[in-house]
Amino acid sequence: MISELTRGERRLALAVLTAVATFGLALAIAGRGDILAVHGGLIMASAVILMFFVIAGFYAPEPGEERLAQYYDTPTKAGVVLAMIWGVIGMGVGDWVAWLLVYPDMTFDAAWASFGRLRPVHTSGVIFGFGGNALIATSFHVLQRTSRARLPDQFSPWFVLVGYNLFCLIAASGYLLGITQSKEYAEPEWYADLWLVVVWVVYFSIYLRTLMRRQEPHIYVANWYYMAFILVVAILHIVNNLAVPISFGSAKSYSAFSGVQDAMTQWWYGHNAVAFFLTAGFLGMMYYYLPKRAGRPVFSYRMSILGFWGITFMYMWAGSHHLHYTALPQWVQTLGMTFSIMLIVPSWMAAANALLTLNGAWHKVRDDATLRFMMLAAVFYGLSTFEGSFMSIRAVNSLSHYTDWTVGHVHAGALGWVALITFGSIYAVVPWVWKRPAMYSNKLVEVHFWLSLAGTLVYVFAMWNSGIIQGLMWRTYNEGGTLAYSFIDSLVAMRPYYIARAIGGLLFVIGAVVGLYNVWMTIREASAERADAPDAPVVPALARSLQAGE
């Protein structure tokens, strides 16, 4: 990794790591007596460990000019592995908290092990850890291929990847320690949020600098989506996280917004985290890896355009459907509902464009589990966007809101769409960047596929049942005109579904573990082959460094 950086980049890396370590030290000192000190120490320790790596490799031979004739895929490789590891952790914690709802005393009397603290580890672990790393890894890969240009340098992709994972680490460890803003899917505190802004600016600059040097006249549709993901997530993140820390020596901050304005801002963020983190970027993946794997051109250029701009424009209005019948003014609720219903058009355009692309390649879908992952993802994308539009209708929402139906809907999207398109893309990209003819085992891809599908179906059906039963029990009246069920009655009725959900989740987690193993074995095969191949001294590099020294 270090040997791929130029000497100047190694110096830059040391300078940046020194700055980060100093920042961590400053936080630790300012936050002594507060829990912030733990995170200050964590940041400093991470930077110092990385400094050792850079120093150890500092005098390794520099990469030659021939690197510029190749795509730079090492950050993609690292990102794929990180995504799979975060996936297993995030999904595993998710299944753990699912069992907590069945056996609530599995907390060992420890604060960190209670549902409220573990749940954001699950949500952030899968959304940011698994999804985010997969997006960063695939975006670097797709960007270079569709632009026919190498990444602008070797240092900034590593800065983005490592910096982003530091953010994820601060987030997850913070929840366990009790550090949270309580804003759903934006729980990390002010210092983590500021750090993510820095990482994001560099990420965007990589995108722009590569596009500027592209050898293709047109920017490919996958890149539109990746760019929308980067840009809009930046807007959402900055606005929703505006807050005032109680001091620079404390992890705690107070949101700039309160009450109804805060609710609207939060769900404008929350729903568009779904749209631009969990949809746009993954549509970028779909628009590249699905046609590639199928060996078919994208079905319709015009549908790509209409779908993209429809999603970019309309999603930003839809957040208020999370607040039907609340203290939010009704005109905003109605606007949110209207745009949510209209969203079905661009969403289905994207889903249909993917499925119609497969025309002429359906025999491959039958034979190739990787392509089948992506096909099924497009199907679930269509299903869950339909369900989303349906649930945003005020009358439907009066039943579904606050119930497990919402949880089921989210997981139809998160498992069925986001995770499946990611696994499909990872199975496509891993042999590609490690220069292998195929994955270590196609059988295991097949096993993973069926585990994922079974897990998703069990999960979603359990939550549909529990959610609708819950909603109906809460609003059922006796003949005498009083409420028929106490809240605890509805809770008792949930138990079989919570067990079923936890089992469905377990199947999905096992699938992810199988996937991680398969990726790992593919990498081992690749490195074993490399180790076999050259039985000769590395003369060219030696000769070049001698020349440089003359």
């Binding site: 609530p104 209670s114 804003k183 539109w224 107070y254 609340t326």
Partner: protein, 246 residues
């Protein structure tokens, strides 16, 4: 139209600007007016701010992720009003930075939990929910009763709250720590200051049953007991709509 797009997708900067413009419209149209239209938040002259102890309790509620399973937003639906009480008004969370309306009811709504159960019930329930509600699946929070509350930085908390718009006075900020002690130690020297600054209706009690010290349990129960009780506006609103019926 598609011809224009062919030009646009050849220009990276143009495409970036187009994404920013197109995506910004929705949020701007929906969020900005909420700050400018007066009717968005009702008038409630009797609305009071959280005491330092209640604010600390609210922060424990946030820290433990209670909002993941409990909403604090009663919708304008008959069954919700009959189950939980008058529907929530915007003004009731006017000082909530951030709001805790929630999105899921694995447990019941808590917007009007204040005063419904005794302090002793809350303490027993938090120590082990299944002691008082056998079917409950809520986690036990035994350590709250044994953990002393961190009170030395409460002035900083109130000062930061004032920066974001909560009307704490200089006196409230200066006495934040003393007021936290005072509210949980009804017989101590600081109790009188709490009612003087936050009103006679403020609960001044040994919430966890142990008046000699201030625990995290004190703070959390103090917060739970004030939920829905910062203003009477919601009850008045319900009474006036009922009176208007023919």
């Amino acid at each position: 139209m598609f011809g224009i797009h062919q030009k646009l997708e050849r220009n990276a900067i143009g495409f970036v600007v187009a994404i920013i413009v197109v995506s910004s419209i929705g949020g701007f149209m929906e969020i900005a007016p909420l700050f400018t239209i007066d009717e968005t938040v009702e008038e409630a002259p009797d609305m009071r701010v959280y005491t330092p102890l209640e604010l600390a309790g609210r922060n424990i509620y946030i820290r433990e992720g209670c909002y993941a399973c409990h909403s604090q937003m009663i919708r304008t639906l008959r069954d919700e009003v009959e189950r939980y009480g008058p529907y929530s008004l915007a003004v009731e969370s006017k000082y909530d930075h951030p709001m805790l309306w929630g999105s899921k009811r694995t447990g019941p709504d808590l917007a009007r939990i204040g005063g419904k159960y005794s302090d002793a019930w809350h303490v027993a329930h938090l120590i082990n929910p299944r002691d008082v509600v056998p079917e409950s699946i809520m986690p036990a929070y035994r350590w709250l009763a044994e953990t002393p509350l961190k009170v030395n930085d409460l002035s900083d908390h109130l000062a930061a709250q004032r920066v974001v718009g909560v009307p704490y006075t200089d006196e409230m900020i200066a006495n934040a720590t003393a007021d936290a002690y005072g509210q949980a130690m009804p017989d101590g020297p600081f109790a009188a200051g709490v009612t003087a600054r936050y009103g006679e209706a403020t609960n001044v009690r040994a919430f966890d049953g142990k008046p000699e010290r201030v625990s995290e349990m004190d703070a959390l129960v103090a917060y739970l007991q004030v939920l829905g009780r910062l203003t009477d506006a919601a009850h008045q609103q319900t009474a006036s709509t009922e009176g208007a019926k023919p």
